[in-house]
């Protein structure tokens, strides 16, 4: 009875790929931040407009918001609710149902460990345990310096390569713990 007790914890969320604009916004200084965010809201508005502000487009719009902002912060959800004329609780309910939507910012880099059956049979859980030990975080968490998020995926569909991982959108197969840790270090060094 340990981790399961927290209603807020999502188990092994699959993770959005981070967009270029997200990285950019992190680097931007405070002065340009406001402008930057206005531009992002505009992009979101465009998407809503393209869907004729129809409530049914909620998931499409949240995809766009996640891509644009990196995660779904409260103001963004409010903006979407207003734009699509939806109750706040409905928007929140949908945003938290789907594992690809994140209400918290993720790390600069992501390492996804595939936990599908084929990978499991070939030792993915041991691999994950080693990575958790190496990074000092649990699956679904981000290191305290915000550098890297460790995530689990249900199945990335490359079962022939089990066990497989995805570091910053690049798939690598037939992994050993040492190989993956090296790749993570390389990614962090960039």
């Amino acid at each position: 009875m340990s981790v399961q007790n927290q209603p807020t914890a999502t188990v092994a969320p699959e993770k959005p790929q981070k967009s270029a604009s997200d990285n950019k916004s992190k680097k931007s200084d405070n002065k340009s931040k406001k402008k930057e965010s206005d531009r992002r809201y505009k992009a979101l508005d465009m998407t809503m407009k393209r869907h004729h502000y129809e409530a049914d487009a909620l998931i499409e719009v949240l995809h766009k918001a996640q891509d644009t902002f990196g995660y779904l912060e409260e103001d963004v959800l409010r903006h979407v609710a207003k734009g699509l004329k939806l109750p706040l609780s409905r928007v929140y309910g949908v945003a938290t149902f789907y594992h690809l939507f994140s209400l918290k910012p993720g790390g600069e880099h992501t390492c996804v460990v595939c936990l599908g059956t084929a990978c499991h049979v070939k030792g993915a859980s041991e691999l994950l345990a080693d990575l958790e030990a190496e990074l000092g975080i649990k699956v679904g968490e981000t290191t305290s310096d915000g550098k890297i998020s460790l995530l689990g995926a249900r199945c990335i569909g490359t079962c022939g390569l089990a066990p497989a991982i995805v570091i910053d959108e690049v798939v690598s197969g037939k992994q050993t713990s040492e190989e993956t840790i090296k790749q993570i270090k390389d990614a962090l060094a960039q």
């Binding site: 409530a55 149902f97 594992h99 249900r154 490359t158 089990a162």
Partner: protein, 547 residues
């Protein structure tokens, strides 16, 4: 676009072709094995040898033998090379002009290839998925033309019924009947949905089809739309499949440009458009009512059926939902007739089935075999068994909804009926081989963990039954279980199976029930020894802090 233009398009493509083509696989398996470096090597060799006018280097989708990537195919000699390295690229290019290479030639006489009968995968290794011209060149969109100009919608439905095709997503409902039900609904707005939310861990058939041959799926959907009277289709796919989405988006754009989608297709009165909807990480959205909620921007909660989508689906309109592989079978059935399709396979199960062969098996990959092929042929002959002389213990089909077939039943043919009888299911096509080292209780626990995390939480048996089932399995696999726990496990499994609202919960206990059936001793071996038993001994003894 009319039929002459279609033929002209195919001819043009034929004329455009250079005398030699070298195809390299761009699917995830080969790419992570180094296919990109191989491609660069091939292109460099062509450039260096000034062979641009003679040899074309072109990408294709998955060629199937993922275990031995990167795969390269040379045309027109049709020689397959396995495990090609960048260093070997130049010598492979040289074979076009009689040169020699030390790249390993794939043995096309091997059962892995010989026992296959590609229908869904008929264009495997033959077309660049990003070019509609290549699809047209191999006969693409001719079935759509045939349906629209030579057949009535009722005739198309009739061919589908004759074919005996059953839903390839796992349910196995006769596709023709489903089409007929939707077709018979009163005219008005209807929809066609392609379920590409392939979520079973260990399955990648649909991803491969969408990545390698997206037009075939679109063509199948358009024919379905014509048959049932729908003008709007949706493909609902996973965000985890970016390449499939990209190829599909491109394919839709091209199909619109060449008017295979749009208004008055082939000059008929039939209009059809296709939109993509991208999931956001929820296995339960593979369930058809959950999927429709998701398309409508809601939480992916299933609802009780009836009403079935055929009567009341998307936006309460009659809706036809089939999966990717089912739609991929449509064009060949229309082209060759339902009787032809029905002549393949067995009495119970017609046609072929695509499987993703993975786990402890030498030749992991994607295969398409006629129904009735035995599991033994697939695992031992095609797959070359467990690597390093290991012994097969069981084959798992159907993922978290399926069951394990023990090694002594491997002579079972791949058929809906036969697999169901064994407590396994056909499923969508994931086939995972387990060797002697695999602990079956652990496998059951793994699948239950999956279901526990993927249950939507709407109905009680599935939301909390999966949690209790998981905890029981966890307790047993840690050696803390009692005989009573095993009994409880079985009872609760039946309850969750019979009481849950949708397919996820109704099938979630299958991995437990099938391992209890065939590997009960493994459960019993894990129970507390009688010496530990003092009634039910408490598991956590005193654990007070050291003050």
């Amino acid at each position: 676009m009319d039929i002459n233009e279609l033929h002209a398009m195919a001819e043009q493509e034929q004329l455009r072709r250079k005398p030699h083509r070298i195809r390299y696989c761009t699917s995830a398996g080969c790419v992570s094995a180094g296919a990109i470096a191989v491609k660069d090597g091939l292109k460099a060799a062509v450039k260096d040898g000034k062979l641009d006018n003679e040899i074309e280097i072109s990408s294709v989708g998955c060629m199937g033998l993922c275990a031995r990537g990167p795969l390269v195919k040379v045309e027109p000699s049709e020689i397959f090379y396995e495990n090609v390295t960048a260093e070997q690229a130049a010598s492979v290019v040289s074979t076009c002009h009689g040169g020699a290479t030390d790249a390993k030639v794939s043995d096309l006489e091997h059962p892995f290839w010989k026992l296959q009968q590609p229908i869904v995968l008929e264009n495997r290794g033959r077309i660049n998925p990003e070019r509609i011209e290549e699809y047209v060149q191999v006969g693409g969109y001719q079935s759509l033309h045939k349906a629209l100009t030579d057949m009535t919608p009722a005739e198309v439905v009739e061919e589908m019924k004759k074919s005996g095709l059953r839903g390839r997503g796992g349910g196995g409902y006769p596709t023709g009947l489903k089409w007929e039900t939707v077709a018979k609904m009163p005219p008005g707005q209807k929809y066609v949905i392609c379920n590409a939310d392939e979520g079973d861990p260990g399955a990648f058939m649909d991803r491969s089809i969408l990545e390698s041959d997206p037009h075939r799926v679109l063509e199948g959907m358009a024919i379905a739309g014509y048959a049932v009277g729908a003008t709007h289709g949706f493909v609902y796919t996973r965000a985890e499949y970016p390449l499939a989405i990209k190829h599909l988006q491109k394919a839709i754009k091209q199909a619109k440009k060449f008017e295979f989608l749009g208004s008055q297709i082939f000059g008929s009165g039939f209009d059809f458009k296709v939109d993509i909807r991208i999931g956001a990480g929820a296995f339960v959205c593979g369930e058809e009512t959950a999927l429709m909620h998701s398309i409508q921007g809601a939480r992916g909660n299933p609802r009780p059926r009836p009403p079935y989508p055929a009567a009341s689906g998307l936006w309460d309109c009659p809706t036809l939902i089939n999966n990717v592989e089912s739609f991929a079978n449509v064009a060949p059935i229309v082209r060759n007739g339902g009787d032809w399709y029905a002549s393949i396979g067995t009495e119970d199960s017609k046609g072929t089935k695509v499987f993703a062969l993975t786990g402890k098996i030498t030749n992991t990959g994607l295969i398409e075999v006629p129904m009735g092929t035995t599991l033994r042929q697939i695992v031992e002959e095609m797959g070359d068994g467990v690597p390093d002389g290991g012994v097969v213990k069981a084959v798992q089909t159907g993922g978290p909804s399926g069951g394990c077939v023990p090694a002594d039943l491997l002579d079972t043919p791949v058929e809906y009926k036969s697999l169901l009888k064994l407590g396994a299911i056909m499923g969508s096509g994931g086939m995972i081989v387990m060797d002697e080292g695999t602990k079956m209780v652990e496998i059951a626990r793994f699948y239950m963990e999956f279901c526990r995390e993927e249950t939507c939480g709407k109905c009680v048996p599935c939301r909390t039954g999966t949690v209790q089932l998981y905890e029981l399995l966890d307790k047993i696999s840690k050696g803390q279980g009692t005989a009573k726990d095993v009994e409880q496990l079985e009872k609760l499994s039946y309850m969750v199976k019979e009481m849950s609202l949708c397919g996820l919960g109704q099938t979630a206990p299958n991995p437990i029930l099938s391992t209890l059936d065939y590997f009960k001793q493994e459960y019993l071996d894990l129970l507390q020894s009688p010496a530990d038993l003092n009634g039910n001994k408490i598991e956590a003894t005193a654990n007070a802090p050291s003050a």
